[in-house]
């Protein structure tokens, strides 16, 4: 396959991009920088989907995550901004322990994943177009799909309950 090398190279670039942005989310001291890093991280994931021959999912990723969720997060940061304090991450003393744990965990995962012989997963011939996706959502996965709507109801009611402050009725 002649395009294989180019495809692999693109994937490595996208993977490094996602990782660097992900680290940025965690390591930036200003929360607004973290939010912006996350937007770029979402974009990288969208590219990864496109590379995996899932253009529709890539577009949805950009619309929903890059477009909507990032904006909501940035709004939330601006709305909850405390005027007196500075919006910075405070690092606690367990950074070193956490870093070591994360590295060991990642190493174990990498070793077992690379050494495992589990073959290819899923239907390789599937081209996830709009038609196929809607078929899956509204046929095979209709039960979890409807259940998600209940999760959203719970999340909305819960958010209102926790955020309601002034004029609380009995």
């Amino acid at each position: 396959m002649p395009g294989g090398d180019f495809h692999a190279l693109l994937f490595v670039i996208v993977a490094v991009w996602i990782l660097v942005c992900g680290l940025g989310v965690v390591l930036f001291r200003r929360i607004m920088y973290s939010a912006v890093a996350m937007v770029f991280c979402f974009l990288g994931v969208a590219f990864a989907y496109a590379l995996l021959a899932a253009p529709l999912v890539a577009v949805i990723q950009i619309l929903v995550y890059v477009g909507a969720i990032s904006v909501v997060i940035i709004f939330a940061i601006m709305l909850t901004e405390v005027q007196t304090g500075r919006l910075e991450l405070f690092f606690n003393r367990q950074t070193a322990v956490a870093a070591i744990t994360a590295l060991v965990g990642a190493a174990v995962l990498a070793v077992v994943s690379l050494s495992a012989d589990i073959g290819k997963v899923g239907d390789q011939s599937l081209t996830p177009g709009l038609r196929q996706l809607s078929r899956l959502i509204f046929d095979r996965y209709v039960f979890p799909f409807e259940l998600v709507s209940l999760v959203l109801v719970g999340a909305m009611v819960g958010a209102i309950v926790l955020a309601r402050r002034e004029g609380e009725r009995p």
Partner: protein, 522 residues
């Protein structure tokens, strides 16, 4: 009719979910908020009634789980499957649904007085509570990891909110935040583990995963390390939810800070749902791979029993003490999973089902007594505050003593039978040493449970400490029936349950065994 069948399977869940929305909508138009508790309880009772009606629907023939060499494994089709194999209803799920609904009704009875006294909104509380129960039902009937995970989240998210429901109380907010952060983290770990299982088997249904794992094993492919990592991640997600050591550190703070009725509900229902849901996942999808996840479970069980019981010893706050006790009981319950996995017999799982009902009765009762005392006079949930209770509130003290004796596991209470069946299952599985550890730890637990009894009867109350001062009942609506009656009713029901099932454990045990009847037979 595929669709018809699917809807029938779902019916108890649909009833509870509709009641959740109904309670929240009715809340908008009604001024008498005490109606909401009745509505919520009615919804739960309807759900349970529908589920009980389904019990007799399937007879013989289709086996859900089948005993397999080395573990319980999926065999045959579901007794009643729906939605392209996403969910499957069986006696096991029916037992669980009835249990969740029953705990929900008792929790509603315990909550009404508390909410009225704290002046908190009741409609949203019951709505969220019913949504949690819906999620639990989803966990019990799921036969696909995607449906399972969404149900798991439907159970988890509103629980975080209920823990912080009294937002004016700093500790309640802290409990909610702590529970949310650790809970979200554990959900991510669980999702990661399930994704690895999918990567290894190419399937999301329990049956498909079981088939994929069998294929991997038969092919002799080098995937052992990969599978172990996947199982460890899934077990971690499970351990967080049931607060098993070493993933327990959130439990004492959350249990202490959350509103007491919510704590009672979390300690019983959420734990029950986690055990029921994960038992089905572990045994149907991965029963034959017991070796890959069983040893992690044994370590988990021993740590949980020892740490939970030992750390409960110095606690002087009863909510905190019951939190550690709840950790210890998660350890006992894990023994059931180990016994079933080791022996490939369903006795361990039915012992878990029995124990979950027993534990729910005695724990809801114990928390109910705390709520009852708090409703009658000022009380800070401390051990010292119970001094002289035997004289001041004799009936309450007797019930509390009963619950403590039952939690210890002394006959003739239901707690004894729960432990008896669990430990017997462990011995039958050939793990006598593990049963000995459990019995020794039960003996340790006697110290902190019976100390409560000792304080109630053999300690004099400090001057004026236990003076019968009416609680700040300003928020109670005039003319409404006293919500305290709900608390009293729940405690008395729990007490009668502990005693009656303790004297006559037969029917409940038959139900717990019957829940796995189809699963064993051909």
């Amino acid at each position: 009719m595929e669709l018809n069948n699917s809807v029938t399977v779902l019916l108890p869940g649909v009833v509870v979910a509709v009641s959740a929305v109904l309670v929240m909508v009715v809340d908008l138009f009604l001024r008498r908020k005490d109606v909401l508790a009745w509505l919520a309880a009615a919804g739960l009772l309807c759900g349970a009634a529908v589920a009980i009606g389904q019990w007799g629907e399937w007879t013989g023939g289709a086996a859900v789980w089948r005993v397999f060499t080395g573990g319980l494994t999926f065999g045959g089709r579901e007794a009643s499957a729906g939605f392209a194999g996403m969910i499957g209803h069986d006696h096991f799920a029916v037992y669980a649904v009835v249990l969740f609904c029953a705990i929900g009704v008792l929790a509603v009875m315990l909550s009404d007085e508390y909410l009225a006294r704290r002046g908190a909104a009741r409609g949203e509380f019951y709505g969220l509570l019913l949504l949690i129960v819906t999620g639990m039902i989803g966990m019990a009937i799921s036969t696909d990891v995607i449906a399972f995970f969404v149900s798991f989240e439907l159970m988890s998210l509103p629980t975080y909110v209920l823990a912080g429901y009294i937002w004016r109380d700093e500790r309640s907010s802290e409990a909610s935040l702590k529970y949310f952060v650790t809970g979200a983290f554990s959900s991510a770990i669980l999702a990661f583990g399930l994704a690895l299982l999918y990567a290894a088997t190419g399937a999301t249904s329990y049956a498909g995963i079981a088939a994929g794992l069998a294929r991997l094993q038969a092919g002799g492919l080098a995937a052992d390390g990969f599978l172990v990592v996947a199982f460890v991640l899934v077990v971690t997600g499970f351990a967080f939810k049931v607060s098993a050591v070493p993933f327990h550190s959130w439990a004492p703070d959350v249990y202490e800070g959350a509103p007491t009725p919510v704590t009672a509900f979390m300690a019983t229902a959420v734990k029950a749902a986690a055990f029921v849901g994960f038992a089905k996942l572990f045994f149907v999808a991965a029963g034959a791979q017991w070796a890959d996840w069983g040893h992690v479970m044994i370590v988990l069980a021993i740590l949980t029993m020892v740490v939970g019981n030992v750390l409960a010893l110095p606690q002087r706050n009863l909510k905190r003490m019951l939190a550690y006790s709840s950790i210890a009981h998660a350890g006992y319950l894990t023994l059931g999973l180990i016994a079933a996995g080791k022996s490939g017999d369903t006795v361990g799982v039915s012992a878990i089902l029995f124990y979950l009902a027993a534990y729910a009765l005695m724990n809801l009762g114990a928390f109910g007594v705390l709520i009852w005392i708090r409703a009658r006079r000022s009380y800070d949930y401390s051990l010292d505050g119970l001094a002289g209770l035997g004289r001041g509130m004799p009936g309450t003290a007797i019930l509390m003593a009963l619950f403590m004796v039952s939690l210890t596991g002394i006959p003739p209470t239901v707690g004894f039978w729960g432990k008896f069946y669990l430990f017997t299952a462990v011995i039958q599985a050939g793990l006598t040493w593990l049963a000995i550890v459990a019995v020794v730890m039960s003996a340790v637990s006697a110290y902190y449970y019976l100390r409560v009894v000792w304080y109630m009867y053999f300690r004099e109350a400090e001057e004026g400490a236990a003076a019968e001062a009416p609680a700040e009942g300003a928020a109670l609506e005039a003319g409404a029936p006293s919500p305290q009656a709900g608390v009293a009713g729940a405690v008395v029901i729990a007490g009668l349950g502990v005693l009656i099932v303790g004297l006559l454990p037969g029917p409940l045990l038959d139900a717990a065994k019957g829940a796995l009847r189809l699963l064993v037979g051909g």
